[in-house]
Structures are given as structure tokens and as C-alpha cells.
């Protein structure tokens, strides 16, 4: 023991110190011998005591992943840090240190008991905002039941008790004393207003988060159906977003109404696509669920059979093993051993047969499913394409109309009969026929391009989803098969080994 109480030299938490501590606090007596033989891994340690070590800085603890209880009292620690990896920590003792702020505990979600007795957690003015934040910071630990803060400047504030009780209502022990309900009630009354405000704020944040989550989920769902953003004028709007000429032309007389009508029709088709997509998605989901269910059933049944076989075998095997042990005659012994190994190989055969049978069955089913899902996807694509074609028709129709209007406007302008006031940039289009036609044409092109893009995106995504799904199913099945074969082999090997060992030992005997 080299505890240097008086030494002012701060020490560093290095490997040696940790190893020593672990060794001292690890298993004792016989178990300790064993442990020393083998060495203890830091990640197996559940509790660690590092008191009176003059530690200045918490460090080097990242290996203790499974630590539940950590004692760092009576050191000279100034900051809480380096505890991020200890997520399983339940019990943390940091009393008799020089800590000034409660911080660095964010990842310790399982914390139940926190002791900060005799530190320097300060008050500047009586419970000002900063100190309040310190306490509010502790609100995030839902499991925190025991807290000790006395011996800190913060505890000298007059309503320190009340304040903590009010803000940490789940606390059971404060400063090693049980909190009675009466005090809790008083504290609540006293700080009701601010707490309500706090709660309200927290609730709002929570609600916003939930809202966002819900919206995101909905979008995910639509994306899974490959029809996101089709339940409104999004596509239409995006068509006109980059279309400068189109927007300009909309100012023409008659073009506005035309555009409105066009938009209405277009959106109706989009919504159709959207709804159809959702419906198809539902269908695909049902299909997939049925498939999964059936496959699971088949696997379960097969597993059940396998387990039964193994259980039967083990029953018999145990008997024959003990018979072998008791047997003294060498010839009989050999006969029995041979019999036993025959049993093992027979078990191997049955298990493998079962597995092969399952593989065959599943293959057939998977192929059937593949066919069906591809059909479904094909149908979906076909229908979406036909709907998209309607969109294109609409666009073509609109284009023709717009062209007419534009040309008539040009003619009017040429004749100087145009009564409306057009912005200059629009006027710039109407220099000659070509320019106008080009402008209308380019707008049309952009629109068609957008529609095509959307369609392509949908088709590629649905196709890739389909191939991906089928691939995954195949791969999973292969993996399952490998795992099972490996398992069977392992088991059989073990059995055979056991038998061989028995043989050896018998012969030696």
C-alpha cells in the first residue's frame, strides 16, 4: 500500500495503477490464484475503487466498458471527464474532490447514485441561472435516485434542499437521507411555477420531436411505396421551378387560366398515382408478410423435428456411454463403441437430410415468391407508366394551347393591338416567331424532362428494391443453411470427440 496522504504530487491514472487496483480488488483466495494465472481483462471488471490516490485527472478508463460501480473519492480531481465510455455505470462516487461543475456525465444514462459530497460546486449568487442549469442538467438522468451534494458551496444556499427536491422529483435519497413526502410536497409548492414552465418547455420539445418523427415516418412510408411527393402539386411545381420561359409566358392573356386548368388535371393524375402506389405497397407488404410467416413456420417445424431427433439421440447416447464406461471386456467394448459411432453418424445423416429437405422446400417457395413479387412490381410499373403517359398527354395538350396563345399574342403584338401591359422581359420574347416558339418549346422540354425523370426514378427504385429484396432472401437462406450445417457438424464433431476421448481413456485404463 503506497498511499501518500501527505504527498501533494498529483498522480496519473496509468495502466499500472489500474492493474494494481484491479488485482487487489479482484477475486480472492483460490479464485484469485486462478485469476492471476489467467489475468483479468478490464472489460470484465464490474466495480473499481480508486480512492486516496491523489488523482488529478480521470483518464484511461475507456476499457472498463461494463463497469457498474466506480469510486473516485478522496482525490484531487477538478473536472468530471473521461467517463463517456462507462455507459453501464450505476454508482459513481466523486466526493472529496475539487470538482467545480456537474458536467461530462451525459452518456451515463443508467446512473442511479451520484455522490459529489465535499466538492467545490459553487454558487455565485444564490442559485443563479448557472447553478440552476447544473441541477437541471441532472434531470436527464431518469434513473437517478440518490444524490449527495452537501459540502459544496452550492449547498449553502438557503433553499438548496427545496430547490433540488422540486427539480428532481424522482430522487429518493438526498445527502444520504431519505426524502419524506411532506418535504417533497413543500418543495413542489414552492417552485411550482418555474417547474411548470420547465415542464412545459420540455413537453413542447418532446412534442416537436414527436411531430417531426411522425412526419418523417410518413415520408418513409411514401418512399417505400415509391410515390413520395405525388400526393399534391409538388411535381407540377418542380416542373415550373426551373422553367423561366414558362413562368414568363404565364403572364399572357389566357395563359394563366390555361395553366390553372392544367395544374388541376395534372394534380388529379398525380394523386391517382400516389394512391395506386400506396395500394400496391400494401399488397406487396401482405405478400411479403405471408411469405415470411410461411418460411418461419417451415423453419420452426423443421427445427422442432431436429430438436426431437437430438433429444432422442441424447437419451440413447447417454445410456450407451455409461454402458461403455462400465464395460470391462475389450471385445464388447469395441463393439459398443462402434455401435455408438454408428449412432452418431446416423444422427448426422438424419439431421442433414432434414436440412436438405428444408432447403429444397424453401427454394421452391422462394422461387414462387420471386415470381409473384416480380409480377407485382411489373404490374405496378406498367400502370404507373400509363398514368405518366396521361401526364405527358396533358403536357402536350397544354403545350399546343400555349403555343397558340403565344402566336396569337405575337400576331397581336405585331399588329400593335396588344392592350395589356407586359413586363419587359416577356416582351423580349416576342421579337419574332422563332424566339416565341423556342421559348414555348424549351418550357415544354423542361416539363417533359421532369416527368420523365420522375418516372425513371420510380421505375429504377422499384426495380432495385425488388432485386435487392430477392437477393436478400436468397442470401439469408444461404446463410441460414450454412449456419445450420455448421451447427450440425460442430455437434457431431463434439460427440465423436467425446467418444474418442472415452476410448482413449479406456484404453489407457
Amino acid at each position: 500500500m503506497n498511499r501518500l496522504y501527505n504527498s501533494l504530487e498529483p498522480r496519473v491514472m496509468d495502466d499500472d495503477m489500474l492493474k494494481l487496483a484491479v488485482g487487489e480488488q479482484g477475486p480472492q483466495e483460490e479464485a484469485g490464484l486462478l485469476a492471476r494465472q489467467e489475468g483479468i481483462l478490464f472489460k470484465d471488471v464490474l466495480s473499481l475503487q480508486l480512492d486516496f490516490q491523489n488523482i488529478l485527472r480521470i483518464d484511461n478508463l475507456w476499457q472498463f466498458e461494463n463497469l457498474r460501480k466506480l469510486q473516485l473519492d478522496n482525490n484531487v480531481i477538478e473536472r468530471i471527464e473521461g467517463l463517456e465510455k462507462l455507459t453501464h455505470l450505476v454508482w459513481l462516487d466523486l466526493s472529496f474532490n475539487n470538482i467545480e461543475a456537474i458536467e461530462g456525465l451525459d452518456t451515463l444514462v443508467n446512473l442511479e447514485d451520484l455522490s459529489l459530497f465535499n466538492n467545490r460546486i459553487s454558487k455565485i449568487d444564490s442559485l443563479d441561472a448557472l447553478v440552476k442549469l447544473q441541477i437541471i442538467y441532472l434531470r436527464q438522468f431518469k434513473n437517478l435516485r440518490a444524490l449527495s451534494l452537501s459540502g459544496n458551496p452550492i449547498a449553502e444556499a438557503e433553499d438548496y434542499n427545496m430547490f433540488i427536491l422540486a427539480y428532481l422529483p424522482d430522487l429518493v435519497y438526498l445527502d444520504s437521507r431519505h426524502i419524506d413526502d411532506h418535504m417533497k410536497g413543500l418543495a413542489e409548492l414552492k417552485h411550482q411555477f418555474s417547474i411548470d414552465e420547465l415542464k412545459h418547455r420540455e413537453n413542447l420539445i418532446q412534442a416537436r420531436l414527436e411531430d417531426e418523427q411522425a412526419r418523417r415516418e410518413e415520408l418513409e412510408e411514401h418512399k417505400a411505396a415509391f410515390v413520395e411527393h405525388l400526393n399534391g402539386p409538388f411535381l407540377f411545381d418542380s416542373m415550373y421551378a426551373e422553367d423561366v420561359e414558362g413562368n414568363k409566358l404565364a403572364c399572357l392573356h389566357g395563359a394563366g387560366e390555361l395553366l390553372e386548368a392544367y395544374k388541376d388535371k395534372f394534380v388529379v393524375i398525380c394523386v391517382n398515382i400516389f394512391e395506386y402506389g400506396l395500394k400496391q405497397q400494401e399488397k406487396r407488404k401482405v405478400e411479403l408478410d405471408t411469405f415470411n410467416e410461411c418460411v418461419q413456420e417451415a423453419i420452426q417445424e423443421n427445427q422442432g423435428q431436429g430438436k426431437r431427433r437430438i433429444a432422442e439421440f441424447e437419451e440413447k447416447h447417454l445410456l450407451s456411454l455409461s454402458a461403455i464406461r462400465d464395460e470391462s471386456e475389450l471385445s464388447n467394448l469395441e463393439k459398443k463403441i462402434v455401435e455408438c459411432s454408428k449412432d452418431i453418424s446416423e444422427l448426422f445423416n438424419t439431421l442433414m437430410t432434414l436440412e436438405m429437405q428444408l432447403v429444397e422446400q424453401l427454394e421452391e417457395t422462394i422461387n414462387m415468391f420471386e415470381r409473384n413479387i416480380i409480377d407485382l412490381v411489373g404490374l405496378f410499373i406498367e400502370n404507373v407508366q400509363s398514368l405518366m403517359a396521361q401526364c405527358r398527354d396533358l403536357e402536350n395538350h397544354h403545350h399546343e394551347k400555349l403555343l397558340e396563345i403565344a402566336i396569337s399574342a405575337l400576331e397581336k403584338m405585331v399588329k400593335g393591338e396588344l392592350e395589356e401591359d407586359l413586363p419587359d422581359e416577356v416582351r423580349a420574347l416576342f421579337v419574332d416567331k422563332d424566339t416565341v416558339v423556342n421559348a414555348v418549346g424549351s418550357s415544354h422540354d423542361i416539363h417533359l424532362l421532369k416527368i420523365d425523370n420522375r418516372e425513371d426514378e420510380l421505375v429504377t427504385r422499384v426495380n432495385s428494391w425488388c432485386t435487392h429484396l430477392v437477393d436478400k432472401i436468397h442470401k439469408d437462406e444461404i446463410m441460414r443453411n450454412r449456419r445450420r450445417v455448421k451447427e450440425i457438424n460442430q455437434y457431431i464433431d463434439h460427440m465423436q470427440n467425446e467418444l474418442d476421448n472415452l476410448e482413449c481413456s479406456d484404453i489407457i485404463d
Binding site: 477475486p27 483460490e30 479464485a31 490464484l33 486462478l34 485469476a35 494465472q37 489467467e38 470484465d44 405478400e287 405471408t290 411469405f291 410467416e293 410461411c294 418460411v295 413456420e297 417451415a298 423453419i299 427445427q303 431436429g306 430438436k307 437430438i310 439431421l351 429437405q357 428444408l358 422446400q361 424453401l362 421452391e364 417457395t365 414462387m368 415468391f369 441460414r480 449456419r483 445450420r484 451447427e487 450440425i488 460442430q490 455437434y491 463434439h494 467425446e498
Partner: protein, 879 residues
């Protein structure tokens, strides 16, 4: 007697005359169809015409009744005290007379029309020798017992409550039909009494029930159940739960190809069938043979034996199908049953119907559509009985409608309602209801079985029912005995004794101190074959079943926090101990303990032990873990703890070969010696614990056996706190309360005692008192009270003096004769003296007390009088 009868006849005749016109119409109505009408017309006119004819017929009728040979029934007239019966029993009301007229008329018409049928059973005599119409003998009653709300409960009660006696003449209905009150009082009756009582109860609780007069088989009429299997032995047919085959799912895998030969299967099946058929044939033959034996001696009177039973028609009380109830045995039969050979007539409390259908095929073809006048001839018109068959409804509707419109008024006039029953309210007291069977005991002989019933609390061990099953039809070799118990303190409900195997199974109701549910054993000695089952919710350790054989003990658990589900202990022979002080029990050596656990969802499968075997003799511990999901093999581990010391004498802590394990997914930390060492230490500890628990289980068995023996010995019965009759404690309490109440009542009466009443009574009533009168009354009252006090004092004084004098005399006598007295006399004298002294002392005390109290009492009275509202006003002003 003779004269009386004649008088009655005369009366009847006179009434008949008066009512003749009105009666004849409705009575004849039902028969007025077709040509049958003519002859009646004549007959009816005849009755109206001459009184002689009427009397003639009357006599004829009486003659018919007299011809019924009266065999002495057990309830004879002498045993019934007629005089105490109410007058409705002893005479007929005018309505009843009227009804008898109608019935008489009807019966005459009937005998004219159907001369080959037996006379109707319409108005037998009651216990007072008064003819009463059968329908009025039915008294619908709803009993205040929940058991008597359903038909089966009613029937069971009637069959239990009454003891059966055969009909005086098995071929004819009885001449007398007693009221149900009399039958209930004497607990005896023939089939007609039975069915009348049952019918009353059933109609009272809302069933559409009818008394039937018909013909039954010999077994039925004589209540002979020896050819019937006991209903308690017949196992309820197991409802075949056809599992609904779910339609094959779309992606269900195809079953592996079946490679066995169809042909071989077919051959095998055929062979099996052949064997089965052979067996069946043999069985049938056997049965036939038995039946032949059974049916020897067929009844020569088959089809002629008169019987009465109850018909319950569908419709009311959710009865789906009509059925018969045999009141003797309380069994229900379908109308197709072979025991019921024919129906003559049937009636309820409203009407009477005659069966016009042929009964050549028992009752199998009868249609119970009482609204159909072709099939059932009714006596009274107007009682609603809608026709059920709709076959010829179509044709009739028009004409019927027409008829109804036209004749509605007339119908109303003609309608004649059945008079109210003459029988008094039926009452069954709770005591009698509980005792049930006459003397509380009943024995029924069934085919190869005997059933005995007792009233609760009749047997000191709580036995209420005992069913013995026999191997042979002669009932000599007992096969098994079932005993039902009630109100046992040890909650024993049923004991099932198998005489062949000697196995006894006790079933307990919830509430046994050891939570015992079933206990099956062959002997009460410990360490024998036995099975105990427990109520699992009661036991803290979750034990539900413990099986024992001489060498093993198996326990099954459920819902334990440590997920233990099964423990099997193998015992070796007992080690002889030298120490003689055997207060400590000497446990047997444990050879092997096997424990199984349910899956603990909180642990990963690789660390959750499924089975743990402690091979204590071999010093080995085997562990088998639960199977992981999607795996078929489970991890195993085996610990050897034999070698504690190595060859050099060093203590070995742990070596790799002490633990052999197979792991499905080998993980790093389980390979470590430290882990294995810790596991083994833990297991060692648990092994100790297991042995201790096994030992405790053994002790518990011993304890239960002891307790059971004590309980058997004591067989105390519990008495419900609601049982006011038997519960002594509550009885005492109630009596005490009544006493207190009584005293309170007395006090109240005293408090209400009006001191002034006698004095006020002297004054003229209804006038206000004057002041003078008030003063006078007060004075009078006080003086009277004073007088009484003085009188009382004098009385006490007188007694005191008398007592003293007597004592003195005695003393004198004693002193005179002291020399001659025997010791006995002296004793007598001394005891007398002490008693006399005691009396004198008491009197003295009383006198003193009286002297003390008298002035106080006087003052109290005065004050009371002053405050009396009647005098206060006047006296106040006076004061």
C-alpha cells in the same frame, strides 16, 4: 256417511240444474264437429228434461268410480286428519261444481263417441272424499330455493323428497288424487301425486308443463332402475373438438414427398379393419347375449300399466325441444323413448286434453300440437293454445277470420275459465328441503351400481352420496366406490376408491391448510406410491404436483421467480445410523437430483440453464442450457469434482479437464478457468441447497400425511355462519341479542309508563285541567307513591321479622334437642341456620337500602311530575 253423500248428491244435482244451460254450451263446443253432434244433442236434452235422468247418470258415474277397487294405500284416511284441512278441501265452490258439470258432460260425450276407450281420469276424489277436477289440483308455485328454478332441480327434488308407492291397481288410474300439500306432508305418493307436484313446481317456475296420464313400461311404473346404467357412471360424451384446419397459406412449403408404398398401406389398413370388424362382431354378440339375459321374463302386462309423468313443451324458458320427465327418477326422456307406451290424456292448471292419436308405436309418432283439435280434444274452450302446424292454416284463415268476427262476442260469453286451484299454498320449510329424502336417506339400485344419498350433516363424517359400482349384474363384487362429502373441515369433496388396484383418490375443494387438491395413494405410509396435486395459486413455492414412488420423488412447479419447473430426486437405501436418539429424521441418501427450468427471458439462451443434473454419487454435475433461437443444438457443460488433491498432495483448485463443455457459439469468457471455477462453486452451493430442499419436501410429505390422518380421525364438519340453525355460536349470539332487545323493550315500556294515567282517568275525559285539579292530581299521585313505598318497607320488615322468628324457633328447638340429635340432623340444622342468616342479612340490607332510596325516589317522582307537560303549566304558575 251414506246420508251425507246423498245430501251432497242432492246439492250437486240442484246446482247442476241451475247451471245446466250455461255449462252444456261450452262443454259441447269442442265436440261439435261433424256428425258426432247428433247423439249428444239428445243426451243433453235428456238432462235438461228430467231430473231423474240426471240422477241416473250421476249414479252411473258414481258407479264407475266405485268399481275402482280400493286397495289400501299407505296414506289411508285414518292417517290424514281431515278436520284440520281448510274448507276448500272439504267442499266445492260453485265454480268447481260448474266445472264438474262440464267435465261430466264431456266425459259422457266422450264415452259415447269412443266407447272402446277407457274412461277419462277427470275428477278423482281428494283426501276428503270430495271430487276435484285434476287441473285444479295443480297449484303452480315458485319455490324460494334457487335449486328449484330449473326443471332438473325440481325433478330431482320431487324424486328425492317423496318415496314412491305403486298404484293400487297397476292397470287403472287411482280413485283418489290427494292435494300436493298432503303429499308433501307425508312424503309418499304414487306416480300421479309425483307428477302433480312436479307439474305445480314446473308451471310455477315458468315451464310449459303438463301432467300426463298414459301407459309406461314396467320398469318405469315400478321405478325399477336395475336395468339402467347409473347416470353418474356414464361418462359425458367428449365433445369432439374438430380443429378448424386453417386454409393452406399461399407460401406454405410443400410437405416432403412421401416415399412409402401406397399398396402396403392399403393392405395394412384392410387388415386392421378386418380385425376391428371381428372385434366389433364379438362385442355385439356379447351384448346380445347380455341383453337376452336382461330381457328374460317380459312383462305380461306390457302396454297396460298406467303411469303418470310430466311433459314439458318447447317454447317457454328457452326449452328447445319437448321432452318427458319421469317424476320417479327425475330423468328426462325424449318423446321417442321406448319406456313411454302411450298417452291417454294430459292436463295443466288451465285445461285438459285427450289424445286422439293412435299410440301403436309408443309415443314416437305423437305430435304435441295441443291447438290442433283433430289430434288433441280439449275440454275447455278459450284457453289459448295456438295451433302449431301451419299446413291447413291457409284454407282456414278466411273462414276463421269470419268466424272470429262474427262469434267473438259469443265466444267470450261461452268461455269458461278453469277455477282457481283448491290446494293450499305449497310450502317446503328449509329444514325439510335440506333433509330432502324421507329420513334423509335414499338408496337407488342401478344396473351394476348402487347409489346412496344422505342429507348433509346426517353422517358425522359428512358423507352425502355414495356410489358403488359392481363388476357383475348381481352386485356382489365391488369394482369401485365413489363417496361425495360436504361441509368437511378438511375440504374433502370426493373420495374415489378403486377396489381392484386399491388406489384411493381424494379430491379437495380449495381451502385445505396444505393447499391439497388431489391426493391419490394406496396407503398412508410414507415413501410409497402417491401423487399429490396442489392448488398452485395458494402455494408460495409454486408446487403443483408431487409424485412419489418408493425410490423417487418428482415435483412439478410453475410460476417461480427462479423458473424451476421440475425436480426429480432418486433416493438410495437408508443409511443405518448408530445413534439411537432418532428425534432427528434419518433422511435417505440422495443419488441423483434432476432439475429443469423454464426459459428465463432476461438471460441469453447460452447462459440460461435448462436442465441441471447432480449426480451426487459420481460427484458430477451436468448442465444443459436452453436452445438458442434458430438452433437445434444446445450448449452443455459437465463438471467433475472428484479430484481435490493432485498426486503431490497439493490442493487442486481447477484444471481444464474438470470441466468439459460443448458450446454452440463458443465465447471467450466461458473458456476461462475463473469463470468455470466460479460456476462450479455456485453449483456446489446449489447442490447443497437442492439436497436440503429434497429433504424438506420429504418432511412436508410426512407432515401432510400426519395432518391427513388427524383430519380423517376427527372428520369435523364446518358450519356456515349463515346456517342459523346449526351454528351454535351464531345461535348464542342471536339469542343474546334477542334477550338484550327484549330487555331494552321492557325498559322502553317502563320509560313510557305513565304515572298520571290512573289519576287522570278519574277526571272527566277530554277537558283541560284546572289548576286546582292539577294540584290535586299531583298530590294524589305523590301520596299514592308514598303509600307504596311505605307498604314495601312494611313488607320487607314483615318478612324480616318472620324469618328472624323462625330462626329463633329453630334455635330454641335445637337447644332443646341438642343431645338427642344425630350428626345428620345437626348438619341439616347448621345448613338451615346459615341459609336463614343469609336470608335475614339480605332482607336487612334490602330494608336499609329501601330506606335510603325511598326519599330519593319520592323526590324524583315529584320532580318528574313537576316537569310533566300536562301539569307543568299549571303547577309553575302555582309555584
Amino acid at each position: 256417511m251414506e246420508v251425507l253423500k246423498e245430501e251432497e248428491e242432492g246439492k250437486e244435482a240442484a246446482k247442476q240444474e241451475a247451471a245446466a244451460e250455461a255449462v252444456a254450451e261450452p262443454a259441447a263446443e269442442p265436440l261439435e264437429e261433424g256428425e258426432m253432434m247428433q247423439p249428444q244433442e239428445v243426451g243433453r236434452r235428456g238432462t235438461i228434461m228430467t231430473q231423474e235422468m240426471l240422477r241416473d247418470l250421476e249414479k252411473k258415474l258414481l258407479g264407475i268410480e266405485i268399481t275402482v277397487p280400493e286397495k289400501p294405500s299407505i296414506i289411508t284416511k285414518d292417517t290424514i286428519d281431515i278436520s284440520k284441512l281448510p274448507c276448500s278441501y272439504q267442499s266445492n265452490t260453485p265454480e268447481e261444481e260448474h266445472l264438474l258439470e262440464v267435465a261430466d258432460n264431456f266425459s259422457r260425450q266422450y264415452s259415447h263417441l269412443c266407447p272402446d276407450r277407457v274412461p277419462l281420469f277427470l275428477y278423482p276424489l281428494n283426501e276428503c272424499e270430495v271430487p276435484k277436477f285434476v287441473s285444479t289440483t295443480i297449484r303452480p308455485t315458485l319455490m324460494p330455493y334457487p335449486e328449484l328454478y330449473n326443471w332438473d332441480g325440481c325433478a330431482q327434488f320431487v324424486s328425492d323428497f317423496l318415496s314412491m308407492e305403486p298404484l293400487p291397481d297397476p292397470l287403472k288410474p287411482p280413485s283418489h288424487l290427494y292435494s300436493s300439500t298432503t303429499v308433501l306432508a307425508y312424503q309418499k305418493g304414487n306416480c300421479f301425486d309425483f307428477s302433480t307436484l312436479l307439474c305445480s313446481l314446473l308451471i310455477g317456475s315458468g315451464y310449459d308443463a303438463y301432467c300426463v296420464n298414459g301407459y309406461g313400461s314396467q320398469d318405469l311404473c315400478l321405478m325399477d332402475l336395475t336395468r339402467e346404467p347409473c347416470p353418474l357412471t356414464v361418462k359425458p360424451k367428449e365433445a369432439l373438438w374438430e380443429k378448424e384446419e386453417a386454409p393452406p397459406k399461399k407460401y406454405a412449403v410443400r410437405p416432403p414427398r412421401d416415399l412409402t408404398s401406397r399398396f402396403e398401406q392399403e393392405q395394412e389398413r384392410k387388415r386392421q379393419e378386418k380385425i376391428k370388424a371381428e372385434e366389433e362382431r364379438r362385442q355385439r354378440e356379447e351384448e346380445e347375449r347380455l341383453q337376452e339375459v336382461d330381457s328374460t321374463g317380459t312383462d305380461p302386462l306390457h302396454g297396460l300399466r298406467v303411469h303418470s309423468w310430466v311433459l314439458v313443451l318447447s317454447g317457454k324458458r328457452e326449452v328447445p325441444e319437448s321432452f318427458f320427465i319421469d317424476p320417479f327418477t327425475a330423468r328426462s326422456y325424449s318423446p321417442q323413448d321406448e319406456h313411454f307406451l302411450g298417452i291417454e290424456s294430459l292436463w295443466n292448471h288451465k285445461n285438459y286434453w285427450i289424445n286422439m292419436q293412435d299410440c301403436w308405436n309408443c309415443c314416437k309418432d305423437l305430435i304435441f300440437d295441443l291447438g290442433d283439435p283433430v289430434k288433441w280434444e280439449y275440454l275447455l274452450l278459450g284457453t289459448d293454445k295456438p295451433r302449431l302446424s301451419l299446413v291447413d292454416e291457409e284454407d282456414d284463415t278466411l273462414s276463421e277470420d269470419y268466424d272470429i268476427e262474427n262469434l267473438g262476442k259469443e265466444d267470450e260469453d261461452k268461455c269458461f275459465d278453469m277455477p282457481h286451484s283448491w290446494v293450499e299454498q305449497l310450502e317446503i320449510s328449509p329444514e325439510v328441503f335440506e333433509t330432502r329424502c324421507p329420513n334423509g336417506k335414499k338408496v337407488i339400485q342401478y344396473k351394476k351400481a348402487k347409489l346412496e344419498k344422505w342429507a348433509p350433516y346426517l353422517n358425522s363424517n359428512g358423507l352425502v352420496c355414495c356410489l358403488s359400482t359392481y363388476k357383475d349384474p348381481e352386485c356382489t363384487k365391488i369394482l369401485e366406490v365413489k363417496e361425495w362429502y360436504q361441509n368437511r373441515e378438511d375440504m374433502l369433496e370426493l373420495r374415489h376408491i378403486n377396489k381392484d388396484t386399491g388406489l384411493i383418490v381424494d379430491y379437495f375443494k380449495p381451502g385445505h391448510p396444505q393447499a391439497l387438491r388431489v391426493h391419490s395413494y394406496t396407503s398412508m405410509q410414507p415413501e410409497m406410491d402417491r401423487v399429490m396435486e396442489f392448488y398452485k395459486t395458494v402455494r408460495v413455492d409454486g408446487l403443483i404436483r408431487r409424485e412419489e414412488t418408493p425410490k423417487t420423488m418428482t415435483e412439478y412447479y410453475e410460476r417461480r421467480p427462479d423458473f424451476l419447473s421440475y425436480r426429480h430426486v432418486n433416493f438410495g437405501p437408508r443409511v443405518k445410523k448408530i445413534t439411537m436418539n432418532s428425534t432427528e429424521s434419518n433422511p435417505r441418501t440422495v443419488l441423483k437430483i434432476t432439475e429443469r427450468f423454464f426459459r428465463n427471458p432476461a438471460k441469453p439462451a447460452d447462459e440460461d440453464v435448462a436442465e441441471r443434473v447432480f449426480l451426487i454419487m459420481e460427484e458430477r454435475i451436468q448442465l444443459r442450457y436452453h436452445c438458442r433461437e434458430n438452433h437445434i443444438t444446445a450448449s452443455k457443460r459437465e463438471f467433475l469434482r472428484r479430484t481435490e488433491v493432485d498426486s503431490k498432495g497439493n490442493k487442486i483448485i481447477m484444471t481444464p479437464d474438470m470441466c468439459s463443455s460443448f458450446e454452440v457459439e463458443p465465447s471467450e469468457h466461458t473458456k476461462k478457468l475463473l469463470y468455470q471455477y466460479e460456476t462450479m462453486m455456485q453449483l456446489k452451493k446449489e447442490e447443497k441447497l437442492c439436497r436440503h430442499q429434497a429433504w424438506e419436501s420429504e418432511l412436508e410429505v410426512l407432515e401432510i400425511l400426519k395432518l391427513r390422518e388427524e383430519e380423517e380421525e376427527a372428520h369435523t364438519l364446518t358450519i356456515s355462519i349463515y346456517d342459523t340453525k346449526r351454528n351454535e355460536k351464531s345461535k348464542e349470539y342471536r339469542e343474546a341479542r334477542e334477550r338484550v332487545m327484549h330487555e331494552e323493550h321492557l325498559q322502553q315500556v317502563e320509560a313510557q309508563l305513565d304515572y298520571l294515567a290512573p289519576f287522570l282517568a278519574q277526571l272527566p275525559p277530554g277537558e283541560k285541567l284546572t289548576r286546582w285539579q292539577a294540584v290535586h292530581v299531583k298530590e294524589e299521585c305523590l301520596s299514592d307513591f308514598k303509600q307504596r313505598l311505605i307498604d314495601k318497607a312494611n313488607l320487607i320488615q314483615a318478612r324480616f321479622e318472620k324469618e328472624t322468628q323462625e330462626l329463633q324457633k329453630k334455635q330454641q328447638w335445637y337447644q332443646e334437642n341438642q343431645v338427642t340429635l344425630t350428626a345428620e340432623d345437626e348438619d341439616l340444622y347448621l345448613s338451615y341456620c346459615s341459609q336463614a342468616m343469609f336470608r335475614i342479612r339480605i332482607l336487612e340490607q334490602r330494608l336499609n337500602r329501601h330506606k335510603e332510596m325511598a326519599p330519593l325516589k319520592y323526590m324524583a317522582l315529584e320532580e318528574k311530575l313537576c316537569k310533566d307537560p300536562r301539569l307543568a303549566e299549571l303547577l309553575k304558575s302555582f309555584v
